[in-house]
């Protein structure tokens, strides 16, 4: 879930997030199944609609982001964020598209990730209609998990976008970067547009999805929607992404006008970043992806088990002058070490043992059938 945060390879980071999003989708599906079991068809349909909607959205913004990453790779020949930076000045359009994708995947309004995740949350919250306490608690935890996921996703894409596109380039790769050819940009533009449309006009896609789910569950999703707003379960929850978008846009225009009207100063001066009075500001001052991820590493220390390696070489004359400092901070997922790996090892071992069954010996195969037959016959009669 929070593996992506310590991942500094742009594409692998995105790949990790696919897992996360599939998790969200499966959360919806699982909720749907449980609702079904408790005969709450309408809610099941709601959860399923949310899941399918998120599948669709995930497809859009994830392909947008992958394209963006591809563009960056194409322009800089590196996927390592630590070597990127400042791309927003060199490839402005790609930057905008990637930003749209990042906001969408962080499930922030008014883009498409928001509304589907919002729907999923609604369906999860509505789980209190189920009258079985254990199930309720399972749902409570899944709500928390989903919340944490979306929070971490936001954090992660602040990192992804900020480190990759903002501030100064961290290598001449990034220095030399140029905007990619128009076809790539056109494709990204299209997907970005899709992210917006799916975000502010959910009714467009909700109608067909709802119909599909009706075929499947023979219950109408417990929701009402039109181009103004989406309503879950009567008055349980409201969201009007379209109007949020409009409101944001309007106010965003109004504020500067208001400021001008009250006669706020409009003069502006460009100057170098304040750097504690040091002479020149270079990209070496910048916060790196590793540093950015550090708090999370510290917080989830139990999961990440950061391995510190501080190596200071002192000046020969006086140990108060440091010549070089090397600080390494690789980190490994304890999930992998303590849970995934052993589990996988276990499964693999079992599988290997099972593989002996397919020995390649035709006589053995015949024996299986003979034994199966005799056993069943004896059992049945």
């Amino acid at each position: 879930m929070n593996a992506p945060l310590i991942e500094h390879d742009l594409k692998r980071l995105l790949a990790y997030h696919s897992v996360e999003n599939i998790g969200i989708i499966l959360l919806g599906v699982g909720a749907a199944m449980l609702f079904q079991v408790y005969r709450l068809e309408a809610l099941a349909a709601l959860a399923l609609v949310a899941a399918l909607y998120h599948t669709l959205n995930h497809a859009t913004f994830k392909s947008l982001l992958f394209m963006g990453a591809g563009a960056v790779l194409h322009a800089t020949h590196t996927r390592n964020m630590e070597e990127l930076g400042g791309l927003i000045k060199r490839m402005p359009q790609t930057a905008v598209f990637f930003l749209v994708g990042s906001i969408a995947i962080a499930a922030l309004p008014p883009f498409n990730g928001f509304i589907s995740e919002w729907l999923t949350l609604q369906s999860l919250l509505l789980s209190f209609r189920i009258s079985a306490h254990t199930v309720n608690l399972i749902f409570a935890f899944s709500v928390a998990a989903l919340a944490l996921t979306s929070g971490l996703a936001a954090a992660c894409f602040v990192k992804a976008f900020g480190i990759t596109f903002l501030a100064l380039p961290r290598s001449e790769h990034a220095e030399q970067a140029r905007e990619v050819e128009w076809r790539m940009r056109a494709a990204m533009a299209l997907l970005a547009l899709l992210c917006v449309v799916l975000g502010v006009l959910p009714a467009l896609i909700l109608a067909p999805l709802e119909a599909t789910v009706f075929d499947l569950t023979h219950a109408h999703a417990d929701m009402q929607f039109n181009f103004n707003a989406v309503v879950a379960n009567g008055g349980f929850g409201w969201a009007a992404p379209l109007w949020m978008g409009i409101g944001l846009a309007v106010l965003f225009v109004v504020i500067p006008l208001a400021l001008r009207s009250i006669g706020a100063s409009r003069q502006r001066r460009y100057y170098e970043t304040w750097s504690c009075g040091r002479a020149l500001q270079t990209s070496r001052f910048e916060y790196t992806a590793t540093a950015f991820a550090n708090p999370f590493k510290r917080v989830f220390a139990i999961l990440y088990r950061p391995v510190k390696d501080l190596d200071i070489e002192f000046h020969p004359e006086s140990r108060y002058f440091v010549r070089t400092i090397e600080y390494e901070n690789p980190s490994r997922l304890i999930f992998e070490d303590k849970i995934y790996r052993p589990l996988l090892r276990m499964i693999n071992a079992a599988a290997r043992r099972a593989r002996v069954l397919q020995s390649g010996n035709v006589h053995g195969y015949l024996v299986y059938i003979l034994i199966a037959l005799v056993a069943l016959l004896i059992l049945a009669s």
């Binding site: 927003i88 922030l108 309004p109 709500v143 349980f236 929850g237 949020m244």
Partner: protein, 314 residues
């Protein structure tokens, strides 16, 4: 129709103009508690005005993100002020989002502020953003579980729905779950607004600051906007705390009398919370950054307890 529009504008202006005062009051109370006279409660207004009249210095490393963010931040806050039932439940634009949507709206602001922090390419900005988003991310689960707790008892997640429900059946609030949810939400409010013990709004000590580090590069009108937006965020959170958990006085009908009384009630409640925060901030010291998760974990547990109690002792 007219009344609706006026109502929304009223809320807008209360939040927009009231927030600096709130900040001023908190500072004043704090000063008094610490035995200082402290600046006038209107000091924040003067600051903002001064900042607006000053010229703006922008780092040449920055991109449009840096200049764009302050406006967006203020925008999100103003938009939220149209959704939050500060005075009345019948807010015509309340349908724009339920409490969850509201939280995601706040997160949008944080998202951009963090980007702006990275934009200038200074070490402080980066440090600030990384810590800010870390805290925001860790606060999310608490927020939603707390909301879950409320929704369980109110049977809805729409803001005005919750207020109406509790106003209609005050007995619902006489419940351990309600209190627990409130505590959890309060802690989250502190964390989200960068108050003590999570962050110290009045420090500029490099290594401890979070929010201040993030906005270190801002100056002039940008800084003014950011400060103002921060004030509004605090105002909105306190309003939520007051009206969701103690919905007394919130106007259920849009009659002038009701609205006026609601206004008074709001002032009283906000004063109470302001002084509570001031008291708290004088009483407790700032936590080390890496103790913060423990605090949030604590609040998470509290919120979970709220949910559990809601399920088991209805």
């Amino acid at each position: 129709m007219l009344t609706e529009v006026t109502l929304e504008l009223l809320q807008l202006f209360i939040v927009a103009l009231g927030s600096p005062l709130l900040v001023g009051i908190i500072r004043k109370v704090k000063a008094r508690l610490q035995g200082r006279r402290g600046a006038s409660v209107f000091q924040p207004y003067f600051d903002i005005r001064k900042l607006f009249s000053k010229e703006t210095v922008v780092s040449e490393n920055t991109s449009w993100i840096f200049r764009f963010t302050p406006y967006l931040l203020a925008t999100t806050m103003l938009l939220s002020s149209l959704i939050v039932p500060a005075l009345a439940t019948r807010t015509p634009l309340g349908f724009m989002g339920n409490i969850i949507a509201l939280m995601y709206l706040f997160l949008l602001g944080t998202f951009f502020l963090a980007l702006a922090g990275l934009d200038a390419g200074s070490a402080f900005g980066g440090m600030g953003s990384s810590r800010e988003v870390a805290i925001a991310a860790l606060a999310e689960p608490t927020v939603l579980i707390a909301i879950f707790g409320i929704a369980l008892r109110a049977g809805t997640t729409s803001l005005d729905g919750i207020v109406t429900r509790f106003a209609a059946e005050p007995l619902l609030m006489l419940n351990a779950g309600h209190l627990l949810a409130f505590i959890a939400f309060f802690i989250v409010a502190l964390a989200e607004n960068g108050r003590l013990p999570v962050d110290n709004p009045s420090t500029h000590l490099e290594l401890t600051m979070i929010h201040e580090a993030m906005i270190l590069e801002y100056s002039g009108r940008h800084l003014a906007l950011v400060e103002w937006a921060t004030g509004m965020k605090l105002f909105l959170f306190l309003t939520l705390l007051s009206n969701l958990f103690f919905p007394w006085g919130v106007a259920l009908t849009n009659t002038p009398i009701a609205l006026f009384s609601a206004f008074l009630a709001l002032i009283v409640k906000l004063l109470f919370f302001a002084s509570a925060i001031a008291l708290l901030e004088t009483a407790v010291a700032k936590l080390r950054l890496f103790r913060v998760p423990e605090l949030l974990a604590g609040s998470f547990t509290v919120a979970l307890l709220a949910v559990v109690t809601a399920f088991f002792l209805q």
